[in-house]
């Protein structure tokens, strides 16, 4: 076996692609440690969108003229780029949405409303993002299905020994889980859950919003049925996301949004649906944003998802080590080798809002709040945490600035 060097990226060099870092905040350079909430955008993506709108824009799919063809080609090429990113068998199975949230709602509504009922179980986890939690609560309520969750242990990892008990409670029809937790960084055992879901006759819905920017994805290897991701966390524009779904399921489903584009024919008394993926794309899609999403995937895969993952592991290990210096600081979640570049922590006696506020004045941007995971916060016994999260443009010096800032926080508010 050949020894291969681990892939590396040069974050200092990559930072130059991101114009946002050219500014000062409160007179200081910006340490942007909130990439789990949304990533910054490189010039390459912004320029592609500008160029697209300036030279090649028209509404897609219907126009016979050259400009419309060009626009359609670019839009469909972006779909193919998403397909390749998640290794889907066909780009017909890739549906453009506004966001990961909308992708998950699409499944909950269009699959859930027609396939759930009393006696059925919808199973989520205690560390789900609200976007893969509330839609399931909602369809469970509407259809009379029961809503259950897989608990986590103190290290923030799923307690799979709860599965048998769930299976005994009724027909498990949906299992929904994020591949990477946005609050803890935990990498969840989605393959195992998918196998279990299929044993129960359930569908496996994977929220990859937080995983897609940080590691290589393969829907076929994961063995899931649906997978949601979004552009804005992956250096792309807002307004674009995608749902991958297994072809046979998508074919059987009713549409979600209705209107232009998703029909084969409309009459006063009968309307029939268009082919995949258009059946699920009502109205004018986010054309320029899909093109930007494609450019962002090209940018990120050009750097290499393995190199990004490796870089984040390095950063998160450094962060956990340095944060341990702060007295009264409690970091949540698993050890660095089982998590993505995200660290959530609590400082005894100081509210995360105040932590983040003081850090802001030091030029360090972190997130304070429940990170759309209130059930998890309840489990951790806090209302909110402070979260620092990293991406390909993050350098270790920024973590050092974070730690210095935290010393300042302690001095003022401790």
């Amino acid at each position: 076996m050949a020894v291969t060097a681990k892939p590396k990226l040069d974050a200092h060099r990559l930072r130059a692609d991101f114009p946002v870092f050219e500014q000062l905040f409160h007179g200081k350079p910006l340490s942007y440690l909130d990439s789990a909430s949304s990533a910054q955008k490189p010039r390459q993506v912004l320029d592609t969108m500008h160029e697209f709108y300036a030279t090649s824009y028209a509404n897609v799919h219907r126009g016979v003229y050259g400009l419309a063809e060009r626009s359609t080609e670019r839009f469909e090429a972006a779909r193919e780029t998403v397909r390749a990113l998640v290794n889907a068998p066909s780009s017909r199975e890739v549906i453009f949405t506004r966001s990961a949230t909308e992708a998950l709602n699409l499944v909950a509504y269009a699959w859930g409303l027609d396939n759930l009922g009393p006696g059925d179980l919808v199973v989520v986890t205690e560390l789900e993002h609200h976007s893969n939690f509330v839609p399931w609560q909602y369809v469970a309520k509407r259809t009379g299905a029961a809503f259950r969750h897989i608990p986590i242990d103190d290290a923030g990892e799923l307690q799979l020994d709860a599965l048998d008990g769930l299976a005994a409670e009724g027909r498990v029809k949906v299992v929904a889980n994020n591949l990477v937790s946005n609050s803890l960084g935990t990498i969840n055992p989605v393959e195992e859950l998918a196998a279990w879901a299929h044993e129960q006759g359930a569908i496996m819905v994977v929220d990859a919003a937080q995983a897609a920017p940080h590691r290589a994805l393969d829907v076929q290897a994961l063995g899931c049925d649906f997978l949601a991701l979004s552009s804005h966390k992956l250096c792309g524009p807002t307004g674009a996301g995608a749902l991958w779904g297994r072809r046979d399921l998508l074919e059987q489903m009713s549409p979600f949004n209705l209107g232009g584009e998703m029909i084969r024919s409309v009459a006063l008394d009968r309307t029939s649906w268009n082919e995949l993926p258009y059946k699920f794309e009502a109205g004018t899609p986010a054309i320029g944003e899909a093109v930007g999403f494609g450019a962002a995937i090209d940018y990120v895969t050009g750097i290499g998802l393995e190199a990004i993952e490796e870089h984040e592991h390095m950063l998160v290990a450094h962060a956990l080590e340095r944060l341990a210096e702060i007295p009264g600081l409690r970091a949540f979640g698993p050890p660095p080798e089982r998590r993505a570049g995200i660290v959530s922590f609590d400082i005894e006696g100081i509210h995360p809002h105040d932590v983040a506020q003081v850090l802001d004045w030091e030029g360090v941007a972190v997130r304070a709040g429940h990170h759309c995971t209130q059930p998890l916060m309840t489990r951790l016994g806090v209302a909110a945490t402070t979260r620092a999260s990293f991406y390909l443009y993050t350098v270790p010096e920024e973590i050092d600035r974070l730690v210095e800032g935290l010393h300042r926080v302690k001095k003022v508010l401790g």
């Binding site: 799919h61 219907r62 126009g63 016979v64 419309a68 063809e69 359609t72 080609e73 469909e76 017909r92 072809r247 998508l250 074919e251 059987q252 009713s254 029909i263 084969r264 024919s265 006063l268 008394d269 009968r270 309307t271 029939s272 649906w273 268009n274 082919e275 995949l276 993926p277 258009y278 059946k279």
Partner: protein
């Protein structure tokens, strides 16, 4: 030759103006209606099979459409007559496109392939041959009648 003259070359205009197989069949062995969601064009395909129940004896079509779809469907009727249903069900679309012999953009491709897709649906319904993949996802509608 300009793009224009290429697309509307003589053979296309000839098939468009004098479509082969235009009309209906009484009590056909296979039949289906197809729609182009992009422009609302409709085509109905009728198939008569030989006594062996496999060989396509005659294909006719009715409906409205642009020059490309009318010419392509006209050529299609000539292309498939005498072949077996199984063969036609898996006929690569490229074979028809070669016959048409002009470069087509994706939108016009839909026009050109409407007849072929509809023929495959007709055979699928009558004989259980495979459904073309772009039609599978269309399953389902909203019927208020």
């Amino acid at each position: 030759m300009s793009e224009f003259d290429q697309l509307y070359r003589e053979v296309i205009l000839d098939h468009y103006r004098n479509p082969r197989g235009h009309g209906e069949l009484d009590r056909p062995d296979a039949e289906a209606e197809g729609q182009n969601p992009l422009c609302g064009d409709e085509v109905t395909i009728y198939v008569r099979l030989a006594p062996d129940g496999e060989t396509i004896d005659e294909v006719k079509f009715s409906g409205r459409g642009c020059a490309i779809s009318q010419a392509a469907t006209s050529m299609l009727t000539e292309l498939v007559t005498g072949r077996t249903a199984t063969e036609v069900a898996t006929l690569p679309k490229d074979e028809l496109l070669e016959e048409i012999g002009i470069p087509l953009t994706p939108v016009r491709l839909k026009c050109a392939l409407l007849g072929l897709g509809t023929l495959k649906v007709a055979l699928h319904k009558a004989k259980g041959t495979p459904l073309p993949e772009e039609w599978a996802g269309m399953a389902g509608d909203l019927d208020l009648r």
